[in-house]
Amino acid sequence: MSPDVKAMTTELIRDAGSLVFLQLGEALRMEGQIEAAKKVARTGMERHPELPEAHDLYARILVSGKEPDRASQIWHELLQSNPRHVGAHKGLGFLSYSHGNLDVSRDHLELALAADPTNQSVIQALRAVRNAAEAVTEEYPSPAQPVPAELPATPSTATGETTSLFAAFGSGDHGILLVDVQGRTLAGGLKTPGGADGSSETAAHLAGVSQEMERTARMLKIGEWRWLVVEATDGNVHLTQPAEDTLLFIVRDRDVPAGRLGLLAESAGAKARAWLDGQRA
C-alpha cells in the first residue's frame, strides 16, 4: 500500500463522511486494486448519493474492472441529470473509442471540451480520436485499444518483454518509450526524476507530434524530418521515427551529449524495428 493510500484510508476511517474517498478510490484504481476501489466508491455513493463525482468514479473503476456496459449505463444516467458532466462525456468518449465508434467518441469529447475548455486530458484525448479518425479515413487498419490521456489508467499495459526491450542502454537513463502516432505505448517505459511512471502521459502528449514535425518540415521546405533533439532544464530528449507510424522517445540526463544521444537512438531504433517486425510477422 502506498503512503498516500495509507494516509487517505486513515483519514476515511477517522471521518467516514469525508470526500477523500474520491481520491482514495481513484488511487486504488490506478494501483490496480479494483475490488478495494469498488468497495470505497460504493460506500462513498451510499453516503453521498447526490454527488455526481462518486458515480463517475465508480464508472471509471468498472471500466478498469472490465465492466464497460455497467459503466456506460452509469455515465448515461449522469448525463441525464447533468448533460455537461465532463467525466461522463470523457468516459463515454473512451468507451466509444474502444469500440471503434470514432464519431460518437469525438462527439462526447467535444462536448466535454465545451464544458471544460481548459481540460488538457480532454484536449489530448480529442487529438488522439481525431488522429484515429483520419487514419481510418485513409484506410489504415481500425484503431485497437486506445490510450486517451488519463483513461482507463490501469497501471500499465506493458508486458515484461516490452518494458525490458530497451534495457541496458547506457548511463543517465530515464527510459526509452516506443509509441504509435496516436499516443499509445508500444514498448519501453519512462521514469520521472521523482520515480513515477511517466510513460502514459508522455505517450499521450506525443500523439500528433510526428504530424507536427512533418508539417513544419514541409512548410519550411527543409525536406523530410529525421530527428528532433530537445535540451531541457533537467534532461535531454531525442525523438525519432524508427518505423512508419511510430516514435521513439529517449530521455537522458543533461550531461549525456546530443551526439551520443543520436548514437543511442540509432541502436535503440534498430532494436525497435526488429521488435516491430517480430510483432507484425
Binding site: 530515464h174 502528449h205 507536427e212 523530410e224 529525421r226 530537445v230 530528449v237 525523438l239 530521455v251
Partner: protein, 116 residues
C-alpha cells in the same frame, strides 16, 4: 528596441549556412524581429516553431525533464533550431544541411541573452 533585436540576430545570421533567424513571441507564434533570406516565410517559421516547441514541451514536461531550452529539428534538407529567450520569447533559426550547429546554438543563446 528594434535595432537591439536586429543586432542580436546578426550574430546568428553571420554563421555560414544560416538562412534566417527570428525572435518569436512564444505564446502567440508571431514574429517580433527577423533577419531572413527572401525565400523564407517569417510568419510560417514563427508560428510553426512556437507550436512545435509548445507540443514537444508538453511531452518533455510529462517525461520529467522540465522546460525545453533548445530544440533542434533535423530534416533531409536543413534544420529548424529554437532557443528559449526567457519565458516569453524564442530565438529561431532555419539552416541548411551541414551547418555548424554548435556555433549557431552558441550565437542563438547570445541573442537570447540580449533579448531578455
Amino acid at each position: 528596441m528594434t535595432a537591439r533585436l536586429q543586432r542580436a540576430l546578426g550574430g546568428v545570421t553571420r554563421v555560414r549556412g544560416v538562412r534566417g533567424a527570428l525572435i518569436v513571441a512564444r505564446e502567440d507564434g508571431l514574429v517580433v524581429a527577423d533577419a531572413l533570406m527572401e525565400d523564407i516565410r517569417g510568419n510560417a517559421v514563427a508560428a510553426l516553431a512556437a507550436s512545435l516547441t509548445r507540443r514537444i514541451g508538453e511531452a518533455a514536461r510529462a517525461s520529467g525533464v522540465g522546460t525545453p531550452q533548445f530544440l533542434h529539428l533535423e530534416a533531409t534538407g536543413g534544420a529548424l533550431l529554437a532557443a528559449a529567450a526567457g519565458d516569453e520569447m524564442l530565438v529561431v533559426a532555419v539552416t541548411e544541411v551541414g551547418v555548424n550547429v554548435g556555433l549557431v546554438r552558441l550565437e542563438m543563446f547570445r541573442a537570447a541573452e540580449a533579448v531578455q
